[in-house]
């Protein structure tokens, strides 16, 4: 199962002392009980804790399998692992978490073979002066996705070869998907 291999590889990448693996076991046991009882309860349950930023998700409920939360500095190493494992890039997008004063960048990777495993990599950067390293040197297809995300959110992808507006007019100095954008 590709899911387990990539999960293990990403978990081992940046070990953090905070989380203990045993906690996860307890949580999953509770989950099963809740599912046997009432479905509504299971939905309201809080997410299990991430182990080194990695979380396994139910594909039927969320549409992806592995959810990885990383610091911007750790991004390139994780994407290289994903690239070596033979994933293709689906999309890159942003989310503006204005209350937390952060911008989130989400990367989707998926596979061509019959072992479906969608990996979602998330990283956050402060709203003031947002910057994230580019992955367009690993996945050439990230080029346009990053330009689009720069258009919509103003996130600077450091090292990007050609970071000019793609979908917006070439002199655009606004970022329409920021929550405080006023047309």
């Amino acid at each position: 199962m590709m899911k387990n291999i990539i999960k293990q590889a990403l978990t081992d990448l940046f070990p953090s002392p905070g989380t203990v693996a045993e906690e996860l076991g307890v949580e999953t046991a509770e989950d099963e009980v809740a599912e046997n009882g009432k479905k509504k309860k299971a939905k309201k349950k809080e997410d299990p804790p991430r182990v080194n930023g990695v979380l396994e998700r139910d594909h039927a409920q969320y549409g992806y399998d592995i959810d990885v939360q990383l610091e911007p500095g750790e991004l390139l190493a994780a994407v290289m692992i994903i690239d070596k494992a033979g994933f293709f890039i689906e999309s890159i997008t942003g989310v503006d978490w204005i209350k937390e004063k952060q911008l989130e960048v989400i990367y989707d990777f998926s596979r061509y073979d019959f072992d479906p495993c969608r990996v979602v990599v998330r990283t956050r950067t402060p709203r003031e002066n947002p910057g994230i390293p580019t992955i367009s040197k690993i996945f050439a297809g990230a080029n346009w996705h990053e330009r689009e995300t720069h258009d919509f959110f103003g996130i600077k992808f450091e090292g990007h070869p050609h970071l000019v507006p793609l979908l917006l007019p070439e002199d655009a100095d606004f970022h329409p998907l920021l929550k405080d954008f006023k047309p």
């Binding site: 969320y62 989400i106 061509y112 969608r118």
Partner: protein, 372 residues
């Protein structure tokens, strides 16, 4: 003006293809650095029909944004609305009756055929053959009439609802679809005899416009473009959704990586779609088309949901980030042609311009869908 312009050997010039060029089928512009007839470098310029559907998705409620989805790709609109309803149903846990799901598959497959037919006509027209377009449009017209009778619109369908459908199909529709299938089969044979074997057609496409499997992976190409490069990837099979696991159909894959392979994939796909439609008509169960229990106001619980579907052009993805309110917090559309078009810049380097335009046709571009 003082005499004709002369170009020195080794000197390049810039050629602007588009944004109003017939070969680009929409407002797409490609800046090409040319050395005579050969392309040294190309840069695609997008955004001429950008409408910011993603912001509209945040400003409107989930049902209100449904018609937007069919304005992305006006040739295969049904597949895109299917993606949206599936994503919202997944997020809000809405059950769909079996009959509704079967009719959805029927409609999506009919739409896939009509989209491929139009592409076929336009593609051959790009290469200089005008007549097949007329045949293809005539066949497509039969399908559009059928779908108009049920959905009420010819291209920009808004037929699916969260949990089901807008209205049920009747026996007239089922009979008419059964009557159309043999006619389309006959037409497909006609196209194979008329176009696929044509020597001029083959010379324009064979071994031209190579896209390797590795390039597909790096750029995230999906759909017939990936399948023409030997990648056996179809979301309907690889990540089954809706009723597709119930159907018996093949995914055509060609390993030649050239423009002709992409052409063959689409021609075979129409045959497979006909198979799905036949099975769907046989299996179509009775029952309601809307669920008994359905929330009046759709408010998915907090979370981040993703849904991928196979449209006529490739894997279309929808990401809904919900904050628990009636509007989406973030509404991301992953368009397949966006990734497919991206590899054009690299793939066309060193090609002759007419070959590059033939390859562009084989990518099956719909510009409003790239720009969103």
């Amino acid at each position: 003006m003082s005499g004709p312009i002369s170009i020195q050997p080794g000197e390049t010039f810039t050629l602007n293809v588009g944004p109003q060029h017939p070969a680009t089928h929409g407002v797409l512009r490609v800046k090409m650095e040319m050395d005579g007839e050969y392309i040294v470098q190309a840069e695609t310029v997008l955004g001429y029909i950008h409408r910011m559907h993603e912001l509209m998705g945040e400003n409107r409620t989930y049902p209100q944004v449904l018609p937007n989805l069919s304005r992305l790709d006006y040739l295969g609109a049904m597949g895109y609305t299917h993606g949206h309803v599936l994503a919202v149903e997944r997020a809000a846990s809405i059950e769909v009756p079996e009959r509704a799901e079967y009719i959805r598959v029927l409609m999506v497959e009919l739409n896939r055929i009509s989209s491929h037919l139009f592409w076929f006509g336009a593609f051959v027209m790009d290469l200089g053959g005008f007549t097949p377009l007329m045949y293809a449009i005539q066949d497509r017209e039969h399908i559009l009439d059928l779908m108009e009778a049920v959905t009420g619109s010819r291209l920009t369908y808004c037929y699916f609802r969260f949990g089901g459908l807008y209205n049920d199909v009747d026996d007239d529709f089922i009979g008419a679809v059964r009557a159309v299938i043999p006619r389309l089969r006959k037409s497909l044979k006609k196209y194979a005899a008329l176009v696929t074997g044509n020597i001029i057609f083959r010379k324009r496409l064979e071994d031209i416009g190579p896209i390797s499997a590795e390039m597909c992976r790096k750029y995230g190409a999906t759909g017939p473009v990936a399948r023409g490069s030997g990648i056996d990837f179809d979301v309907r099979k690889n990540e089954p959704y809706s009723m597709y696991p119930e159907f018996d159909f093949d995914v055509p894959v060609y390993h030649e990586c050239d423009s002709l392979a992409r052409y063959k994939v689409r021609m075979d796909e129409m045959e497979q779609s006909l198979r799905i439609i036949e099975q769907g008509l046989d299996k179509l169960p009775d029952g309601p088309i809307m669920p008994k229990k359905k929330p009046k106001l759709i408010k998915p619980p907090k979370g981040d949901y993703y849904q991928a579907v196979e449209t006529a052009r490739g894997s279309f993805g929808i990401r809904i980030v919900s904050d628990g309110s009636k509007n989406a917090y973030r509404f991301k559309l992953r368009s397949p042609t966006y990734s497919n078009m991206h590899l054009f810049d690299e793939a066309c380097q060193g090609m002759m311009i007419m070959d590059a335009l033939a390859m562009m046709g084989s990518l099956d571009l719909v510009i409003p869908e790239i720009d969103r």
